[in-house]
């Protein structure tokens, strides 16, 4: 699409795009649009956190709404009952969601594919039913109302624009972590689990450790967005964190592209705007929604962007391949890993 453009132009376009995104509430006066944009950002962040498990590690999770719910309730309860401000409640939400991530990560050690999907689905239901029936803690089906507008390190969130910026900051934090992890030896270990578990463990990758770790990180990031959700909607009830929510996050990841950061964002934006855009066609809405996903699965199962990274879009992806001459130069005085280790031992 943008193949002919040089990296400089691409980066310039990208910067303009970023500025437009960052200043959106300043020129978008329609409050409804700003709220939709906030939803897009929030769902992008949720899709990114799920992408760690589904895209990078190749395990299906149908329980992501549960982590969001755990984060939302933690944050709401701490804010409502104990009067804590937003940031500490969010940190607690992250920690508690992470703890549940460990708990859900443990069955993932033995299961994969559809079996794991069913376990995560069950987990989602257990969490939802707990939220529904633990009246003294969560007020059950009545939900928690009147959650205060957040005060973030002295910045009082008042307008829809403020919420949008807060969501954007949280999403940037998540993008930062997801990109860093995927571009490192930890990320490669996670991807090796997706590619071939037997080969990965033969290469010394501790599969159990990485599976639990990925679930934990993903749950923690999801819990963070849950805390935002609670403070944004200012009303939460268990029905917001049901199976439908989990599948809609999963659809975003699948539609946008498994295992790519830009893909998740695109998928989330499309699937957040689509229901709103189709509001007038109320009766046909779900039909069109379903049709788009079905068509995608047939013609582009890897998702719209697949595993494309930002650096590929910008044309600045690092190339490692060398010419044969350079390869020969690399070999001068070369030692094998074994020889090097032996030297290190002697030293």
């Amino acid at each position: 699409m943008k193949k002919g453009l040089s990296p400089k132009i691409r980066i310039a376009l990208f910067v303009i795009f970023l500025i437009l995104v960052a200043t959106l509430p300043l020129y978008l006066k329609n409050q409804y649009f700003v709220r939709v944009a906030t939803l897009c950002v929030m769902y992008s962040a949720l899709a990114l956190s799920l992408n760690l498990i589904t895209g990078f590690m190749g395990q299906v999770s149908l329980g992501h709404a549960a982590f969001m719910g755990i984060g939302a309730y933690t944050s709401a309860i701490l804010s409502d009952r104990f009067g804590w401000s937003f940031v500490p409640t969010m940190l607690c939400a992250v920690l508690i969601a992470a703890a549940f991530g460990i708990i859900l990560g443990i069955p993932a050690l033995k299961l994969s594919g559809s079996y794991l999907a069913i376990v995560t689905l069950g987990f989602c239901e257990v969490v939802r039913l707990t939220e529904l029936n633990w009246m003294s803690l969560t007020r059950g089906p009545m939900g928690m109302t009147g959650i205060k507008k957040p005060l973030v390190l002295g910045w009082q969130i008042k307008t829809n624009g403020d919420y949008y910026w807060l969501a954007l900051i949280l999403m940037l934090i998540i993008i930062f972590f997801v990109i860093n992890i995927s571009n490192s030896h930890v990320g490669r270990a996670i991807m090796s689990v997706r590619e071939d578990e037997i080969a990965a463990s033969a290469m010394g990758v501790n599969i159990r450790y990485y599976k639990v770790m990925t679930f934990t990180i993903s749950a923690a990031l999801c819990g963070m967005m849950g805390a935002f959700y609670a403070h944004y909607m200012r009303f939460i009830d268990p029905s917001a964190f049901n199976f439908e929510q989990s599948t809609s996050i999963l659809s975003m990841v699948i539609l946008g592209g498994l295992g790519g950061v830009p893909g998740s964002i695109l998928g989330a934006v499309i699937l957040s705007i689509l229901p709103e855009a189709l509001r007038d066609l109320a009766a046909l809405r779900m039909l069109i929604y379903g049709l788009i996903i079905a068509v995608m699965m047939i013609f582009r199962p890897q998702g719209i962007l697949g595993r494309t990274t930002f650096s590929q879009i910008l044309g600045i992806k690092k190339k490692y391949a060398v010419t044969p001459e350079e390869a020969a130069a690399l070999l001068d005085g070369e030692e094998t890993p074994y020889e090097e280790l032996k030297k290190e031992e002697q030293a």
Partner: protein, 254 residues
């Protein structure tokens, strides 16, 4: 010469099937040892017992004087042995370089914290790792394909990449499961040369192979397995004239 790997009376039973029966093998340092036998003899199962994929029903695996029986696969790799697979198991949709970098995973000096925050220590570790991987790839003529998907390589190159990936773990002992399978004569000759170079660099190689030309020319010693049992061991010349081996391969005289 020092013994590197020793199998003591390994038996592996699956239900009613005794896949490996009372097998004792030793591999000395800087040796190239072959394990041959007809299809279904239990060779790969023996490998799986060594590398921890199976926990042998009976017997012990000793690696460099330590008992590694029943240890998890990834820890055995950390101890210093790495393997390749009969039916190539590369990380197919990752790049050639990333395959080798995953091989180097256990030696990375970075960890989740440094990675997640993109700290200088992560950058340094990543740079060193990439350089070392590129050198390894250059050694096997794969450096020009570093950015290609692993499954886009020709068959012979995929086999070589698997060996490079195993070397990247820092292993001293390489277990190669049918490294020449599916290779033409030219590729097999190159592979033999490569394995000899490995030995010269200090590696110990234990391989399963059906290609008799490779086994007889390359190996210092050969073990022959049939229906789970070891039926012979010795130098290539001894194996070639061993009646039990001839019977196992060609059937007994009537």
């Amino acid at each position: 010469m020092k013994t590197m790997l020793e199998l003591k009376n390994i038996t592996q039973v699956f239900g009613g099937l005794v896949a490996v029966n009372d097998v004792s093998i030793h591999v000395d340092e800087k040796e190239i040892v072959g394990l041959i036998g007809p299809n279904g003899a239990g060779k790969t199962t023996t490998f799986n017992c060594i590398t921890g994929v199976y926990n042998p029903t009976k017997g012990k695996v000793i690696f460099e004087d330590r008992d590694i029986t029943g240890k998890p696969v990834h820890e055995i790799t950390k101890d210093g042995m790495a393997r390749t697979f009969q039916n190539i198991r590369l990380f197919k949709s990752l790049t050639v370089l990333d395959n080798v970098r995953i091989g180097m995973h256990i030696r990375s000096k970075s960890n989740l914290f440094f990675d997640a925050f993109h700290l200088p220590r992560r950058n340094k570790a990543e740079k060193e790792m990439t350089e070392e991987c590129m050198k390894l790839l250059a050694m096997t003529g794969l450096a020009t394909h570093a950015d290609d998907r692993a499954d886009s390589l020709p068959y012979g190159a995929q086999r070589r990449l698997e060996i490079v990936r195993a070397m990247a773990t820092g292993a001293r002992l390489l277990l190669l499961d049918e490294p020449a399978a599916g290779m033409n004569e030219q590729e097999t000759a190159e592979l033999m040369e490569f394995i000899r170079e490995l030995r010269d660099k200090g590696y110990t190689v234990f391989l399963i192979e059906h290609d008799m030309k490779l086994v007889m020319n390359l190996c210092d010693r050969i073990y022959v397995q049939n229906q789970g049992y070891l039926i012979a061991d010795g130098t290539p010349a001894e194996i070639q004239s061993n009646q039990a081996v001839i019977d196992a391969y060609l059937g007994e005289e009537v």
